[in-house]
């Protein structure tokens, strides 16, 4: 590889529009850089917030099996954040300070109404601003958000920044395992009133994480190859899968 510019034979925008991939911080143009860092930040912040939120579930877990599952989810979500943060470091991010910049365990009131956008300083998805009320609630949230991640991260694993796509392809099966641990947990809990109430609480909040149906940002990201499938299509796919998996466990 040589990054002397004049060797490039086509504009980078055309290259990306035709499905080309970028492979290093050195060949990323400014606007692409901004959107890519924003995407990676949102992932890192969401994973850190999810890990911090799930940490409480460890002590609320009934039995050793559930305790191990909750510990594993807490550990691996932090690990996933670290892997993507390492990619951000190559762009100049100070990883040490980044982790200290926000309180990842902070939550709003359970009844607060947040628009689907940023709140506070960090970039976590709005769903991670809501508190978990107990172990059952944590399991339900993990199932619904776990299914959503398969669609949302699956989409990003096709993105045009090869290093991120590769890391996400490694992460996806582990995130899937977290979702499956949740399903196993929910099967043990069963369709109780408490679990049903949690499902009703989380469904609209998880649905919002896919973003607005009409989005200028999506069009921009698609032109850069950072996105491919629109928000509404992903949301529909998630809803169908969530409905199917929940019905199988007796939730109708």
């Amino acid at each position: 590889m040589t990054t002397d510019a004049t060797e490039a034979t086509m504009p980078i925008a055309d290259y990306l529009a035709q499905g080309g991939v970028l492979t290093a911080p050195g060949n990323v143009p400014p606007r692409y850089r901004a959107e890519l860092l924003r995407t990676m930040s949102s992932f890192v912040d969401s994973e850190l917030a999810a890990s911090a939120g799930f940490a409480d579930a460890i002590n609320r877990a009934p039995g050793i099996k559930s305790r191990i599952a909750a510990s594993r989810i807490t550990l691996e979500k932090a690990d996933h954040a670290e892997r993507v943060l390492a990619l951000m470091e190559a762009f100049g991010t100070d990883a040490q300070r980044y982790e200290d910049a926000h309180d990842w365990a902070a939550r709003v009131d359970r009844d607060a109404t947040l628009e689907a956008k940023r709140h506070g300083g960090d970039m976590r998805l709005s769903v991670f601003h809501y508190p978990l009320t107990g172990f059952t609630d944590a399991v339900v949230m993990n199932v619904l958000m776990g299914i959503a991640s398969q669609h949302a991260l699956g989409e990003l694993a096709r993105c045009s920044y090869q290093p991120l796509a590769e890391v996400l392809r490694d992460i996806l099966p582990r995130e899937r395992r977290h979702m499956e641990l949740g399903l196993e947990g929910l099967e043990r809990i069963g369709p109780t009133d408490e679990a049903r109430a949690s499902v009703a609480y989380w469904i609209p909040r998880v649905a919002e994480t896919f973003g607005a149906a009409e989005s200028d940002r999506f069009d921009r990201l698609r032109a850069m190859g950072l996105r491919h499938t629109d928000n509404e299509t992903l949301r529909r796919a998630w809803r169908a899968e969530a409905t199917e998996k929940l019905s199988a466990l007796g939730f109708d």
């Binding site: 040589t2 991939v21 970028l22 060949n27 901004a34 930040s41 949102s42 300083g121 392809r169």
Partner: protein
């Protein structure tokens, strides 16, 4: 954050008329930092007329050669590559960051894999490193290299590739495709386009047996090859890319000269360019950050940490003066080029022109 270390040039060898191979030695204390993985690159920095340029060049040595080597092809108008080809001498010291890059797959001596490589011009450098490493570290694996060049004289590492072929008969094959020089077989003349790829798959390469394909070359070639590989059943996981292009211009632009606007009022006229559109607004000079003012004016400016740490909100000052409260993310050369962290940036002048697109 990666830091620069000195590397001493121990050899500069002309490889073709317009390319040199530079051998480098780290200080003993930095030897570990410069341990590399096949296919990685080094980023160098150097001042040209007071402007710092950074350029990345792939390591062309294999893991078992016990040295660091990069191939540098001269590019028309390329400041760094021209200087390296004309003026670089043994004994010179270059500043380089430790090896980076992910253009590799993990090695496994026990496995017999079939690799396929495509190189265009100086795109051969990382592939040569991968080829040599695979041949020595994975004794059961094979490697087929398709190598595109304009003409015979511009082929880098031609002899070394021949030697490798002879040493590893049956395990390594190289197909030279020359754009403007007729060869005995038509297949090997012309550009690597969709048609040629079809012919290669029909006559020379069994797509089904390929474990991993590596591509390094100019953009159109990467697109064509990737499309063809996917058509023949390779998944994204099996295709590794390394791209040439640089986000930094060949010669760094001069920093915009700060306008000495009369500092009268306590407000600043700000003009912000984002996604090709420019918006203007007035903001108070009371310590408010430009990013916050832009967000208040309903601009979808990029940011994340808002603590001067992550560099998501990086923008370029084209006119005017600002002060950055904290900066943990931008390096000196970026600041000299006019970049700021907009979340930490307070206007000092009465007029400020800022762009997220530059």
């Amino acid at each position: 954050m990666p830091r620069f270390h000195p590397l001493t040039v121990t050899d500069v060898r002309p490889e073709t008329r317009d390319a040199v191979v530079v051998t480098l030695r780290p200080d003993p204390a930095d030897a570990d930092a410069f341990g590399f993985t096949q296919g990685q690159y080094l980023t160098f920095r150097r001042d040209f007329d007071g402007e710092e340029l950074r350029r990345s060049y792939s390591i062309c040595a294999g893991l078992d050669e016990g040295c660091l080597k990069v191939g540098i092809k001269r590019v028309d108008g390329g400041a760094f590559s021209t200087w390296a080809n004309e003026a670089l001498r043994p004994g010179d010291v270059l500043q380089a960051m430790p090896p980076q890059g992910r253009f590799h797959t993990p090695l496994d001596p026990a496995r017999g894999r079939n690799y396929l490589g495509f190189a265009g011009g100086s795109g051969i450098t990382p592939l040569l490193s991968i080829v040599k490493t695979v041949l020595t570290r994975e004794p059961k694996s094979t490697f087929t290299l398709v190598y595109a060049n304009r003409q015979l004289a511009s082929i880098m590492f031609r002899e070394e590739l021949e030697d490798l072929k002879n040493t590893h008969l049956g395990r390594f094959s190289v197909i030279h495709v020359l754009e403007s020089e007729a060869q005995e077989i038509d297949l090997f003349t012309g550009r690597v386009d969709a048609e040629k790829m079809e012919a290669l798959f029909r006559l020379w390469i069994d797509a089904e047996s390929v474990d991993t394909a590596f591509i390094c070359g100019p953009e159109p070639m990467m697109l064509t090859i990737a499309e063809s590989l996917r058509k023949h059943g390779l998944t994204d996981d099996q295709i590794k890319f390394e791209l040439f292009a640089s986000g930094q211009p060949g010669r760094a632009k001069r920093q915009a000269v700060a306008q000495d606007a009369a500092r009268t009022g306590n407000a600043c006229e700000v003009s912000v360019t984002l996604d090709g559109a420019t918006r203007s607004f007035r903001m108070p000079k009371d310590g408010t950050a430009v990013l916050d003012a832009a967000l208040e004016n309903h601009m979808d400016a990029p940011y994340s940490c808002k603590a001067g740490v992550c560099s998501t909100c990086r923008a370029k000052v084209l006119e005017g003066e600002v002060e950055m409260i904290t900066n943990h993310a931008l390096e000196d050369y970026e600041i000299r080029a006019g970049y700021v962290l907009s979340c930490q940036c307070v206007p000092l002048s009465d007029k400020l022109v800022l762009s997220y697109d530059d």
